[in-house]
């Protein structure tokens, strides 16, 4: 499925038991509601292993971090997990400053993540 917002692209694929949500563009106060809604929808659909691929993200601020943390809390309340794919220094820096590198499992690639899940 594709997002419609001009500044944000959202694409969901299934990989080895994971719902892989690829995010492209800028995540800020304007685009975050669409991102949040997508994560809520995935959990409501019964997805319990969610992988958010941030490799296409050009900008992420605290609003976007709030969406990620909200998604993690939501899926964990259903005994699931939400992990990230991120190698971009600019995004990792934001995660490090806010202490979220200790909260999320961060993978170097989607392939590494879905292999690490052990469902394939």
């Amino acid at each position: 499925m594709k997002g419609t917002h001009v500044d944000l692209g959202l694409d969901v694929k299934e990989r080895n038991g994971w719902a892989v949500l690829s995010v492209q563009g800028e995540v800020d106060v304007y685009t975050a509601p669409q991102f949040r809604e997508q994560l809520i929808q995935l959990v409501d659909q019964g997805q319990r292993s969610i992988l958010v691929d941030l490799e296409g993200v050009e900008f992420l601020d605290s609003t976007g971090l709030g969406v990620l943390v909200g998604g993690l809390k939501r899926v964990r309340s259903h005994d699931g997990d939400l992990a990230l794919v991120c190698t971009q220094r600019r995004i990792l820096k934001v995660l490090e400053i806010t202490g979220l590198t200790k909260v999320f499992t961060i993978h170097e690639s989607v392939d590494a993540a879905v292999g690490a899940n052990g469902k394939g």
Partner: protein
């Protein structure tokens, strides 16, 4: 010589990207700020504008005044009322987003100061350039 660029935007989410794009573009004109530092400044501008928008409830306008000097780039964001509450809380910060915002602002600019006057507040953000420029900016010949 300082160069001043002013921008006024409606306090609405769809204009935050315009504010950070303008500040980022201005920051890159004069040498002395690495791309990573410009990116840091864009994040902090986004945090500040978002903080104000949340408090103002999408009403009012934000005025950005960018003072581009040889040694520093200063961004002053002025808004009605106590618009930067979540960026500079008077009490304890709320969980999650508020505390992330404070952490990012503190970490990513060299100086951040809140100035209040009756009916208005101004958040002043400063980044230092790494070396004095030639004063006119632009790329070296």
């Amino acid at each position: 010589m300082d160069r001043v660029v002013e921008l006024e935007i409606p306090a609405r989410p769809e204009f935050v990207g315009i504010a950070r794009m303008a500040v980022g573009a201005l920051a890159g004109i004069r040498p002395g700020l690495a791309y990573e530092r410009i990116d840091d400044l864009r994040i902090v501008v986004s945090e500040a504008c978002t903080s104000a928008i949340e408090v103002l409830g999408r009403e009012g306008r934000l005025r950005l005044r960018c003072i581009d000097g040889p040694k520093t780039l200063e961004v002053r964001i002025e808004a009605p009322g106590a618009a930067f509450e979540s960026a500079f809380p008077t009490g304890h910060p709320g969980p999650d987003v508020d505390s992330f915002r404070i952490s990012l602002i503190r970490a990513l600019v060299d100086d951040a100061e809140l100035r209040s006057s009756p009916g208005r507040t101004e958040l002043c953000l400063v980044v230092h350039r790494e070396a004095a420029s030639d004063g006119d900016g632009g790329l070296p010949a």
